[in-house]
Symmetry: C2
């Protein structure tokens, strides 16, 4: 069944945004009495569509499900990347359960963004993670923060790691062994060409531990998928 | 340093194909005496470029490296998919160490391919995995077989699994626990909409064990990356 997210509930009705209403009417071509799932505040409701021809109404029929995944919060801290690569990360990391994404301004990022462009970009990114959340039946949408400088990555709680190409001893596998009961993990991934030594040192000083992901050479957009797969594998209730 | 694969070695010279020679000359704009890495029969050589202006020659200077990854052979058996999704799987699974890819004709594949198109398609796919192998510094290139019917997946050796949405008990985590010393794993992944019951039964009869990948709902192209990440995590020498 088709899924949508709603930010507002008025009595027994859920309010959808205009894009979603267009999708229901024009793309899915739904009719009165068709059923959809609408997620509101981490609960999924079975809903019925009414009044399609005029002003569509989404009427709640019953509570459908409350999914509890692992309670691990996963924060990805990723450099600004070319659109195609960043879009892939946003979509795939949503499927794989990321909680929050913080873009950061890395020295070797080839993408530079002006402050006045932030809001527009965040809207675009949020749309991508919203759609991916619907498709993967999540009951929450990952949060995307405004791009930050490394210096702003202070006051971050939980386990903090930075994926390093220099570190040879500490690795993701050891880290997982030693942090079985962690409830929040923050992961910094470098841009193409990697973080500079200075950036990695700064992060280390902020409490981010350098770890190796092993011997494979991966493109930057593959790294978050690799880590998120491992986190699912280790923390999912099997 | 830029990397290429060579299929032929004559004395102390390695032969590259025309695409690679074009890349050296026109894209990288290399000059005489520039160095490149060329991989031939699972060994990487440091080479020197000579005679760029006329007939480029690639002269071996010394043996550069022999990389030994985990010796686990990973065979992905995937349905025909839309080009963009299949390309992503080919590129990313190469980065993550796949050994062989066997496309198969699934009932619910929306892509149909005529037999006379096979060779052209395989050429295209092979080009993608070759480039991904170069970029990820592999010393081998994944093999791509001709598309097969499920019935042809007989006589396959090693551990055999099929990713199932129905199976609830057996899962990838249990499987890893019970197969620590496996040296070859064959993984069937279904198309969008999944395998039909009949197809899954056929595969079970051929010895493919149905396993669950957990509770996340992933797009079809995410599944191979998820499994390959886990296999790297479990089998890599950390």
């Amino acid at each position: 069944m088709q899924r949508y997210f709603s930010k507002e509930k008025i009595d027994n009705k859920l309010i959808l945004n205009n894009d979603d209403l267009y999708h229901i009417k024009k793309v899915m071509r739904m009719k009165d009495n068709d059923s959809i799932i609408v997620v509101h505040e981490k609960t999924a409701y079975l809903c019925c569509i009414e009044n399609v021809k005029d002003n569509i109404e989404i009427v709640i029929k019953e509570e459908y499900e409350k999914i509890n995944y692992n309670s691990l919060e996963i924060v990805l801290i990723i450099p600004l990347l070319k659109e195609q690569k960043l879009d892939l990360i946003l979509q795939k990391s949503t499927e794989l359960g990321v909680t929050k994404i913080i873009p950061f301004l890395a020295e070797r990022s080839i993408i530079k963004l002006k402050k006045e462009e932030y809001d527009k970009k965040i809207d675009r990114w949020t749309k991508i993670v919203k759609e991916a959340s619907e498709q993967s039946h999540r009951i929450d949408i990952p949060l995307i923060e405004k791009p930050k400088n490394i210096e702003d990555l202070i006051d971050i709680e939980g386990l903090k790691i930075v994926c390093s190409t220099k570190e040879k001893e500490k690795n993701i596998r050891l880290l997982m062994k030693n942090n079985k009961s962690c409830d929040r993990i923050n992961i910094v991934i470098g841009p193409e060409g990697g973080l500079t030594d200075k950036e990695e040192e700064k992060l280390n000083k902020l409490g981010f531990e350098s770890i190796s992901l092993g011997t494979r050479i991966m493109r930057v957009e593959t790294v978050p998928l690799f880590i998120l797969s491992i986190l699912n594998y280790e923390f999912m209730e099997w």
